[in-house]
């Protein structure tokens, strides 16, 4: 089996196995056929497979009659910003996000600068499967416009929406690990503009990932030591396209990526009150924050596409996932780790608090996450099997199975990005969450043999 994952927002897989030139060109041709006339923005992360995918994408977009605005190496939030700025018909962001270096993906972005919604995504898949593309005859050839420094207007825009004097006055010390991804180097610019002193590691944009490009505590050891050594106020970890963020507190504590959303939402909602959108797998901490701010929480399927779609529909103020992707209505409807990092500095400056004490104020929950490798063709049937463990219990089946009990929830779902079943449980009791996950894991192991 070659793992290939098609979802409404894109296609991902392992280079040389599922991801081949023809697949890339076919998908990009379907996208070019689907979109109205107009230029299409293309950007990529720093993986060494990204230029290969970019070449195929550009070829297909030109062949379907679109001018290409090439941003080169560029993180997804900047691509999303540029779509609107350039009044483009859409964009393709070439990034494996949090996946390992052997993976890559095409992420399709619509003219509003957000991931395709489920209808657009379905249309794209239909066009791809029909294999009916609309190549143009080359009388007048569309060309490529190379946009240099696409981050400059983005940073101008971002800064104009922040309490810049307060941030600058605080003269923060910051540590960041952009994992040699597309956010590398740009963190220098951002923190320079914010008047902060940055110590950065893995800041080479060379696509060599010293650890998996997933912002979470087990990858945060280096940032933690650097925070302690430099006496920094905060430490940041990014994924390979700067769409996700996790934190290290000023005393070097590596915070679960689950903290990113509730910490920032509790500050942001004061200025911009409104509903919060999150997914079924995200910690209950956000419910506490929302209760305090008297706003509602809407839970959706997992994935940026579903979250952003709900954010727009519900006119939510904040949307985010426990994996560290956050979007804010006053900024853009897209997961944006730069906006989140800047807002964290604003939060620290305005509230005059340490990260550790903000964490203290949140209720302590224990979230246990595990996953089981499973053949792709059995993913969904195995997830359904888990229902048998909960007879007579009401189960939310919006995205896999979500079971709620008092002071406990469990979410079992097939990953949309890898051939994995993810099992997540949360409770105020660490023992209860772990027991529940173990029960399901051993049940599934028995089934998979």
């Amino acid at each position: 089996m070659k793992p290939l994952k098609l979802s409404v927002s894109g296609v991902r897989g392992i280079i040389g196995q599922a991801i081949t030139p023809e697949l890339v060109i076919d998908f990009a041709s379907a996208f070019g056929t689907m979109l109205a006339a107009g230029p299409i923005v293309v950007g990529r992360d720093s993986r060494n497979s990204s230029p290969m995918l970019a070449a195929g994408v550009v070829s297909a977009l030109l062949a379907t009659g679109h001018e290409v605005i090439d941003l080169g190496l560029c993180p997804t939030p900047v691509i999303e910003f540029q779509v609107k700025r350039q009044k483009a018909a859409g964009a393709v962001s070439i990034t494996g996000g949090h996946n390992p270096a052997s993976w890559n993906a095409l992420n399709f972005i619509n003219g509003q600068g957000t991931y395709l919604d489920e209808f657009q995504g379905q249309e794209l898949l239909d066009l791809y499967h029909l294999n009916r593309f609309q190549p143009v005859l080359f009388k007048k050839a569309p060309g490529i416009i190379r946009e240099l420094n696409p981050e400059e207007p983005y940073f101008d825009w971002l800064l104009s929406r922040l309490n810049l004097p307060a941030i600058k006055q605080a003269h923060f010390k910051v540590v960041a690990d952009p994992v040699n991804g597309a956010g590398s180097k740009l963190v220098d610019k951002l923190f320079d503009l914010l008047g902060a002193r940055l110590t950065a590691i893995n800041n080479g944009a060379n696509g060599y990932f010293p650890h998996d490009p997933e912002p979470r505590p087990r990858n945060a050891m280096e940032v933690s030591s650097l925070v302690k050594i430099t006496g920094a106020d905060i430490g940041f970890l990014l994924n390979s396209d700067a769409s996700r963020l996790s934190l290290v507190s000023e005393n070097g504590e590596t915070l679960s990526e689950e903290y990113t959303l509730p910490l920032l939402a509790s500050y942001y909602l004061k200025k911009h009150p409104g509903p919060v959108v999150t997914n079924l797998s995200t910690s209950m901490m956000i419910d506490e924050v929302a209760k305090e701010k008297k706003v509602s929480v809407i839970r959706t399927r997992v994935g940026q596409s579903a979250i952003i779609q709900a954010m727009l529909q519900e006119k939510a103020a904040v949307a985010g996932e426990g994996s560290g992707g956050l979007a804010f209505d006053y900024f853009q409807p897209a997961f944006d780790a730069f906006a989140a990092m800047a807002l964290f500095l604003e939060l620290l400056a305005v509230e005059g608090q340490k990260i550790s004490s903000l964490v203290e104020r949140l209720p302590r929950y224990h979230i246990v996450k595990d996953s089981l490798v499973c053949p792709a063709h059995r993913l969904h049937t195995l997830v359904a099997e888990v229902k048998k463990l909960y007879p007579g219990v009401e189960i939310n089946q919006m995205d896999g199975l979500r079971i709620e009990k008092k002071d406990l929830w469990i979410h079992v779902r097939a990953s949309a990005t890898e051939p994995l079943i993810r099992i997540i449980a949360e409770s105020s009791s660490p023992h209860r969450a772990q027991t529940e996950v173990d029960k399901i894991m051993s049940y599934l192991r028995r089934l998979t043999g």
């Binding site: 070449a55 270096a101 050839a141």
Partner: protein, 462 residues
Amino acid sequence: MRKVLPLKISVSGVRGIVGQSLTPQLAARFASAFGTYLGQGQVLVGQDSRPSGLMLKKAVTCSLLATGCQPIEVGILPMPTILFLTRKKQARGAVVITASHNPSDWNGLKFIGPDGLYLPASQIEEFLDIFHQGEFTFVPAERLKPALTEKNAGFLHLRRILSQIDVNLIKKRKFRVVADCANGAGATLLPSFLHELGCEVRFINTELTGKFAHQSEPTPENLKELGREVRDFKAALGLAQDADADRLALVDERGRPLGEDATLSLSVDHVLSRKKGPVVVNLSSSLVIEDIAGKYGVPVYRTKIGESNVVEKMMETRAVVGGEGNGGVIWPAVHPCRDSFTAAGLILERLAGFPGSISELMDTFPRYYLLKDKFDCPAELAFRALTELRHRYQTKNISTVDGLKIIREKAWVHLRPSNTEPIIRVMAEARTAKKAKQLLEDFKNEIKQILNQLSQSGRASY
């Protein structure tokens, strides 16, 4: 009935109409097959001036990267320059995005092997097998290489030619020249080249828009504009490149086309005057080559039509010069391929060492008249008719290397079924136009008569 889309897959690569038969998917499959065939290594990617070149180049680059090759994008360059650079850079091969002289909505891919030579037929077969079977070798992410871009690599080619000719001798003459690049890739380098040779040049058709002002076959019709400009500019010589810049046609100081064989004759004579050695030309090249070789006492080998056939024989016989009568000069001192720049350099050097004009120089060669004709004939009949004709003439001096060539004293006639159309091509050459015409008519009548008999006996047997 479904319309058949024009797509030609042949030994020289693939060609089609962009957006109809030639899609990025097809280009990617071909390049994946080529990358798989070559194994990993550096591969040059060049293109001509067609508007679809960029789109196809990206698809080719994508596939070369995916198969673990390292593409080196050299941009718009003449064909001989890319062939030269492939060897110079010790690349594993090259892909050139070009459809030579086809209209601008066409494009194609040409595949070049190691040492900057066209792939021989057997290798092409192997590569096409990989294409048809679709069994491509894609490498994992950690073995992908970055693509490279090289600008101005073409000057290496010019430098090589300039090192092989007497630049100072040419410079002294300060030739006035008109050059017609036929809107082909030659326009990227010909200005620099002629400037280096101290020529005062007027250029026409140098815009690289992918639109061709005229067809690049050096027929008198296509050389009219050049002739006018030569007279107007009072130039000593007119040079006309074809779209790929592998062939060169000449116009004399009075604006008259010098005939298809002039380029090769002048070049062969000049090279032999510097260094004696075997000469290789194709069957359809003029007899004047034998006269010239006779003057220097060197042998002439004749091969089937087609550049790769001539090149192969040249390497085998260690020839010092060769080519095709249609203006394709091959001088191995630069690179074993047809090269209009090499031809221009040799001819300017020859003219610089000659006290008269180009037309006076041409008068020093024996004059031959070459006539061409063709007539419709179904492919299956053409073969039988030529077999019958061969039986009739088998005791005479004939060559069956490519169709049938009957050789007389200072004259020949050559009959050859076309590979691409249901026609038979007839060519005849003799010392006078009248004799050539006679020869052509005689054999046309004879073959038509045979065809009549064949079709009648064919009908009778039903």
